[in-house]
Symmetry: D2
Subunit: 200 residues, 4 copies
């Protein structure tokens, strides 16, 4: 069994992205599962192709895309991706869509095929703040989640997949005024490991 975890490069005014920092620190194996990772550009146009390539190379059974949700106080299991992109800041390539569909003929939304409530409960039972979120926003995170679930659906991939949002790392929060909620990178990593463990 193979699990692909993706994280994003930094964006906005940040120099790190806890999503990628965390998945890099995951072990190569959890239980009987092999873990592989990919780094996704914060780009409406390039994130999908990079994900598609990672799917082709690794042929994973489970895909968990991870992104940063600044200000969150826990790890958020995203329930649904919507067919819309609407950016309040440009992406890393300067693209800033306004109220456009991701896929003009695609369905309005895709639900995560991960058991989101079960995952949130598993993390909480292990002392990691977690919850289910009903919106992954309308920026590149939602775009990537929608793209992943669309590829699984369209190509009938034998894959379950979804998206997890993680808080600012403690280190990021320490540089901001006022101080936002955050989570230690080691705890974010532990939370993601627990999610994988729950799934495999």
């Amino acid at each position: 069994m193979k699990v692909l975890l993706t994280g994003f490069e930094p964006f906005g005014s940040e120099t790190v992205n806890p999503s990628y920092e965390a998945i890099r620190q995951l072990p190569e194996h959890i239980g009987r599962a092999e873990l592989v990772t990919a780094r996704i550009p914060v780009s409406f146009e390039q994130s999908g192709p990079v994900l598609k390539e990672a799917l082709a190379i690794h042929r994973p059974d489970i895909v968990i895309c991870v992104g940063q949700a600044g200000g969150y106080s826990g790890i958020a299991m995203e329930r649904v991706a919507i067919n819309l992109q609407d950016a309040s800041i440009p992406d890393n390539c300067g693209v800033q869509p306004s109220e456009q569909p991701i896929l003009p003929d695609g369905p309005a939304a895709y639900f995560s095929s991960l058991p989101v409530k079960k995952l949130a409960a598993a993390l909480r039972q292990n002392g990691i703040p977690a919850f289910v979120s009903n919106s992954a926003g309308t920026y590149v995170c939602n775009h990537l989640m929608y793209t992943l679930l669309h590829l699984i659906d369209r190509d009938h991939l034998p894959v379950i997949g979804g998206f997890i949002h993680v808080p600012y790392s403690t280190r990021q929060a320490a540089a901001k005024t006022p101080v936002p909620a955050s989570m230690d990178l080691a705890q974010i990593t532990r939370g993601l490991a627990l999610a994988v463990e729950t799934l495999v």
Copy 2:
């Protein structure tokens, strides 16, 4: 040089108090300073006497009282204690004062003799979210801080002292809905160690 750190027992609906959990995990020495600790009851009547006894036993040069501030996103260096107690819930002995002075003839307030801005900056530079707070509330935390600073002032103790509020631990936050901001206990402990290091 001796540093006394105090933490509180649990109160309200909590079964742990991160203030005491954190100080217990501090090393016995930081630089040339010896660290000693005391556990303070969450009691308007008993907290002062227990602190006074700890001061008499340990004769510290620096005293840092630590308490829990549920919902805080960082470590708060308290600037001032006010001569007032006003409790929205009873303390652990069932006492619930309403708008009473701590010390009928005492001054309206005492400022911390710790360098609060310098401490917050030191923590932030080391990646720990921290800030200065201008109110320690009107519950037992403020009562203890006022009592400490009053004892130092009245008895001309050669001591600098103050109060630090710490967030919920990650583990505490994981049991709450919605999930409040929190900090990993190891990071809280590291933050307190950095504060001691900055002072000595």
Copy 3:
């Protein structure tokens, strides 16, 4: 031209619902539009039938369902309803679904056919705090919005429709500790009137 506005009865521990209080105070006409209203039960099973009946009776051109979003600081134009019901508290009939579809064979989501960004901008330009929201939750509000958009879609109704969430009224907030964000009922009403005015 006819506009149907719906509001909810109170739920949870509330004795009023600002959504219904506000629509009751709207005038009978705004510009060339006639306004009619309906009161919807906070019930997963009964809200849809009551809405359907109101649609049949009034044959409106525009439908705006309104609900309460406790803690919101402005009027939220909901962008999307998802095919899921998951209740953290029972509805007013004691029904509490957990992760069930609203319509087993329905699409994953429906987008509002109201111009949500334009509506939010119109309110803000007139001094009413407003924004676009990407989740109407998974309680009866989302259920009603999904049902409305499904009926429009399935029956090819010549109707545009959507959902607007309003904050606690100032009066509701005054009874809570700590005090949540709120909006004066007169301002909520004015915001809804502005939304209708923008649409007609």
Copy 4:
């Protein structure tokens, strides 16, 4: 009986200050009390002299200084002013003190001589969100409150006085992203009128 209410000029990036806008809209009499107002500059150096002049001219029995607390969800009765000024942004004259006493030989703090809990309760009973605050910050608001209470104390003025913080007006909040909590200016004015009514 005469009541002096003061409000501030705008500061920071704001073009209005709801504290002054609200007191301007108060009636000339409430019950048997005559109301007079003054506009205070947002200046560490000039706010005190302007207040002192207003006290000399009007010889009020009650003084309520009012200021803006951006982000507050209700009207805050300030309990205490501390002898410290520490500004994160310059005042309107470009002055930005860092951790300085307001009055080098003054007491650490002064308590409001207004019945703060009673006032908050009176407003809440009338449907206006209100609470007691234990910190007026360390900017010009706290400076003015400290100065007022010092003048009353030093000169044995037969005056009761204190400070009330009010939220952003709804109009101010509508121009911000994300939308902060706010209160309709008419409700702020009504809250201040209720406070005066409770006092006289």
